[in-house]
């Protein structure tokens, strides 16, 4: 959230000072010379912040690469238990939302308030859709462990409800028995080497799901932050703060949204599309 602070319109007016800048609109902060300079600075600042975001996810990708390289068979088999169609739908949802955000910036530039609000609204809806689908995927995984009705039991490691599968890393983690059919797939004869259920700790399978939950979870956290930002943008756009000369918040908030999209563009093939 940090970097959006300077871009949202100032609530407290800049402290009184002597130097004269009569041309200041209310949106131009006192220490900038011009709106153009302010916009470029905000964009650059956001990009520098995005660098840190990319490196943040970079750490997870690094771990992912190491373990995928180490356990290729495990990866191939573990990925079969993710819901690829839903992942694909989510990817499309995010790509569309990227388009709507880009169109929102375009609308702001052109001063079309109505289209700006529409686009931001669609973005909000798409973001929410993404989170709902993601939540459903998560609940699917959790339901197998202790039953969605009883998350406490999962946390305490109590009941396992006689399931033969629990893909949430933790004490109850069980990777299900592979189906013979999968082993028959050409070129993957070794996949059913792990035919025994791999119970609990020590199984490389749970590394996959650990990374899956951490990566997509962190991504979901960013989605929530992104949705918050877009909500604020919608609000200020509704208030009429955004003008063709001052649309920096939309531009900068949009950059953040696109970053979330980019991260997912990598997460999708890395987790859902593994053979």
């Amino acid at each position: 959230m940090a970097t959006t602070t300077p871009t949202t319109p100032t609530a407290t007016p800049a402290p009184a000072h002597e130097h004269g800048h009569e041309a200041h609109g209310r949106e131009l902060l006192h220490h900038f010379e011009s709106a153009q300079q302010q916009k470029e600075t905000a964009t650059l600042g956001m990009w520098i912040f995005l660098v840190t975001e990319i490196m943040l996810f970079g750490g997870i990708f690094m771990a992912y690469i190491v373990y995928r390289w180490a356990f290729p068979d495990v990866w191939a088999e573990a990925a079969h238990h993710l819901n690829t169609p839903l992942g694909a739908v989510n990817t499309v949802v995010l790509l569309v939302s990227s388009l709507t955000v880009a169109l929102a910036v375009n609308a702001a530039e052109e001063g079309n308030r109505r289209r700006l609000l529409t686009m931001l609204g669609i973005t909000l809806l798409l973001g929410a859709t993404f989170l709902v689908i993601k939540g459903y995927e998560y609940s699917e995984k959790f339901a197998h462990c202790a039953g969605a009705a009883n998350p406490v039991a999962w946390v305490t490691g109590g009941a396992r409800l006689g399931e033969s599968e629990c893909l949430v890393p933790g004490r109850n983690f069980i990777f299900p028995e592979a189906h013979g059919a999968e082993g028959a797939e050409a070129g993957h004869g070794t996949a059913d080497s792990y035919a025994q259920p791999q119970a609990g700790l020590g199984s490389p399978y749970q590394l996959f799901y650990f990374l899956y939950f951490v990566a997509t979870g962190l991504h979901a956290v960013h989605m929530v932050i992104g949705l918050t930002i877009v909500s604020i943008l919608t609000f200020i756009a509704w208030r009429g703060v955004i003008t063709p000369t001052y649309y920096t918040p939309i531009e900068v908030g949009g950059l953040y949204w696109h970053l979330i999209d980019i991260i997912w563009v990598f997460l999708f093939p890395l987790f859902y599309l593994v053979h």
Partner: protein, 127 residues
């Protein structure tokens, strides 16, 4: 850092004279739609490639390479057009690139160690 020679001695604040921004290219809505169409095509390609890999035995590395190449292509489109880096100033472009270069350095060097080290290690048999 290559940006050092830019903007010497002009009378304005910071990098880039304000006048340069008269040339600030504006990405049209049509471009956005075309980029989006390309993204959708790439999306179909990556899922399609995965589907084909499920039927035809391809080397595993090739599958990863295809998926990553498509993801990078998508990212490039989003960064250049949706995120306006194509029409941004030099410093922004440099930082956009720096992120990916920094990540590449980390991956290349670390994986270099793993390739040379003798891995994977077995899971420990310890209590």
């Amino acid at each position: 850092m290559a940006k050092t020679s830019t903007s010497a001695g002009h009378g304005a604040h910071g990098d880039g004279a304000h006048s340069e921004h008269a040339a600030h290219a504006h990405i049209s809505r049509g471009t956005y739609y075309r980029v989006f169409a390309a993204l959708m095509v790439l999306m179909a390609l990556t899922v399609g490639a995965w589907w084909i890999e499920g039927i035809v035995a391809l080397p595993r590395l090739l599958g990863v390479a295809i998926a990553m190449a498509i993801a990078i292509a998508k990212t490039t489109l989003i960064v250049l057009y949706f995120m306006h880096v194509k029409v941004s100033e030099r410093a922004t472009q440099l930082y956009a690139a720096a992120a990916f270069i920094g990540f590449a350095i980390m991956v290349i060097i670390t994986m270099g160690d793993y390739f040379a080290r003798g891995w994977p290690p077995p899971p420990g048999p310890l209590p």
